[in-house]
Symmetry: C2
Subunit: 301 residues, 2 copies
C-alpha cells in the first residue's frame, strides 16, 4: 500500500470508478457518499469508507470532489462535516463536478486561505472509463497543484489536458464541451425523429450517418439507445438540464447570445416536463415523437 492517500467524495458511477482505480493502483483510497449502496460497492472493491467528508479528508494528499454540481461541491467542502476544516495544509482538492468557472475560482480562493491547493479538474469519459482508470481530465491550476495531484491523476486518468495556471480555465473548457455534447444529443434526436417521420428507420440512419459528415460523437453513442428502445439512464436528461443551464448562465454573465444552446436546453426542459428527467438523455426523442406522432423502436412492446 502506497502512503499517498486519496479520498473521493461522491461515489456515483464516476466517483466509484475513480476510487476503485486509485485503490487498484496501490494508493490508500477512501470514499464517502450518503448512499449506502454506493459505499458497499467500494467496500466490496476493497477500499476504505469514511462517514463524513471531514473524516475522509483526514491526512489526505488528494481529495476529489465527484458530485453533481456547485451546490453539492459547496456542501461537501464547506457545509457541516465538510472536508475543508480537516484538509491538511499542502493537500490538493480536485474539483471534478461541472460548475461555473467563477465558482471554481471562488473555491480555490477560499481553500488557499487554509493553505490547501486546488486543481480545477472536470472529468469526462463516462463510467466505463472511470472504472478502468482511463478518464479524460480537463485540468487547470498552479504547478504546485499539478505536482501534488500527479500520483492520483496517474492512477485514474488516461489523458490530462493541462489548460493553464488558473482555476476556472478547465471548467470553461468543460462548459464548451458540454455545450457541444448537449446540443449534439438533442440534434441527433431531432434528425432521427425527422427521418423516422419521413419513412427511414433508425438503424439505417445510424449506418449511413456514422460514415458521413453529419456524424458526431454523441450521435454515434446515443442513437443505439433509440434503436434498442432502451432508455436506462447511462446519462440522464437531468444532467443536461443542469449543464446547458450552466452554459446559458455563463453566456448571460458574459453578455453573449447562445440561441442554439438555448433552444436545445428547451428540449431537455420539455423532456423533464414529460416526466423523463431520470431517463437516458436519448429520451429527448420522445418529445419529438409525441409532437409529430411517431412510433419509435420499442413502442410496440
Amino acid at each position: 500500500m502506497n502512503t499517498y492517500k486519496a479520498a473521493v467524495i461522491g461515489l456515483g458511477s464516476m466517483g466509484l470508478g475513480i476510487a476503485t482505480s486509485a485503490h487498484r493502483a496501490g494508493l490508500t483510497s477512501v470514499g464517502c457518499d450518503i448512499n449506502p449502496a454506493s459505499c458497499q460497492a467500494l467496500r466490496d472493491a476493497g477500499a476504505a469508507l469514511a462517514d463524513t467528508p471531514a473524516a475522509a479528508a483526514q491526512s489526505v494528499d488528494a481529495l476529489a470532489v465527484v458530485v453533481v454540481n456547485a451546490e453539492q461541491t459547496e456542501s461537501v467542502l464547506f457545509g457541516p462535516d465538510g472536508a475543508a476544516g480537516a484538509l491538511p495544509e499542502g493537500s490538493v482538492v480536485l474539483g471534478c463536478a461541472t460548475v461555473p468557472s467563477e465558482f471554481s475560482k471562488d473555491v480555490a480562493a477560499r481553500l488557499a486561505e487554509r493553505g490547501v491547493l486546488v486543481l480545477d479538474a472536470p472529468i469526462s469519459g463516462g463510467s466505463v472509463k472511470a472504472a478502468e482508470g482511463a478518464l479524460t481530465v480537463m485540468a487547470s491550476g498552479p504547478a504546485d497543484s499539478f505536482a501534488k495531484a500527479k500520483p492520483f491523476l496517474d492512477a485514474v486518468a488516461e489523458t490530462v489536458f493541462e489548460l493553464g495556471p488558473e482555476p476556472g480555465q478547465a471548467s470553461t473548457m468543460k462548459m464548451v464541451n458540454q455545450l457541444l455534447a448537449g446540443v449534439h444529443i438533442a440534434t441527433a434526436m431531432e434528425a432521427v425523429a425527422l427521418g423516422v417521420k419521413a419513412g427511414l428507420d433508425a438503424e439505417t440512419m445510424f449506418d449511413v450517418i456514422t460514415k458521413a459528415a453529419g456524424n458526431s460523437w454523441m450521435f454515434e453513442n446515443r442513437v443505439p439507445h433509440v434503436i434498442d428502445g432502451d432508455y436506462t439512464p447511462r446519462s440522464a436528461v437531468g444532467i443536461f438540464v443542469k449543464d446547458l443551464g450552466i452554459v446559458l448562465g455563463e453566456g448571460e454573465r458574459l453578455g453573449m447570445d447562445l440561441p442554439i444552446s438555448k433552444t436545445a436546453h428547451e428540449r431537455y426542459l420539455a423532456a423533464r416536463d414529460m416526466g423523463l428527467i431520470g431517463e437516458d438523455d436519448a429520451a429527448i426523442i420522445k418529445v419529438y415523437a409525441e409532437q409529430a406522432g411517431i412510433t419509435l423502436p420499442g413502442d410496440d412492446t
Copy 2:
C-alpha cells in the same frame, strides 16, 4: 475507351471531379456547364464537352445532374435544351443535388413516362473525394436503375448506400445528414465563440474537443478555418441557407417542429444578412463575434 457513356450536367467542384473520375476510369465522359472556366478545366482533363444538356444526353448510358438545387435540376432536365427530350430509352438519370424527396419522386415519375430510369443519388464527401472518384453516394431507386448506373458508380464512388427501391428515400437520408451537418457547424461556432469570450483560445479548444465527447465531424473539419482565420469558401454559407431551408420545408410538410434546425438556420440567415453568403460556412462565427465583441484569429492582420 469504354463504350459506356456518362454525362455530367453541372461542373462545379463536385461535378468536375465526377466527370474527371469517369473519364479516368475509361468511360466516355462528357460534361456540360454554363461556366466556360469549368468547361475548360474538364477539357484540360481530356474529357469532352457538350453545349447544352440536350446535346450531352445524346446516346448516354448515365447522366448525372450535379447542380445546386431543385430549380436547377428542373431547368437542366425539362427547360429549354434540357436533357429529358434527348435521353435514350433505358438510360439512367442520377439526381445528385440536395432536393426535397417529393421533388425526386416527381422527376422520377416524369422521366418514367419517357422510358428513362432514375436513381435518387445525392452525394457527399466534398470536392477532394469527388476528384479522387471516392464519393459517398446515398442512393435509392429500383434495381434496374442501380444496374444501369453501376459502371458509373464504380468509377466515381467509394461508398454507395443502397437505401431502398423508391426515389426520394435517398434524398430523405441526405436531408437528415444536412440537418446534422448544418446544425453542427453553427454549434461549433457558438461553442468556440463562447470559449474565446471566456478566455480560451480556439486552438486549445480544437485539441481538447476533438478528443472528447463534444466532437463532431464538422467541428473537426471547420474549426481549423477559424484558427487559420481563413474563410475561403470550401462550402459557402449559402449552401446551408438552402439545405436547412429544405429541412424546414420538409418538417412543415410533415407537420413536425424542428426547433434546433430552425434556430441554426437563423444563424445562417444572420450571416447572409451580414454579407457573408459567399464565405466559408465557418464564417458563422462572425455573427457571434459581432454580437459579443470577440476578436478572432486573423482579425488583427
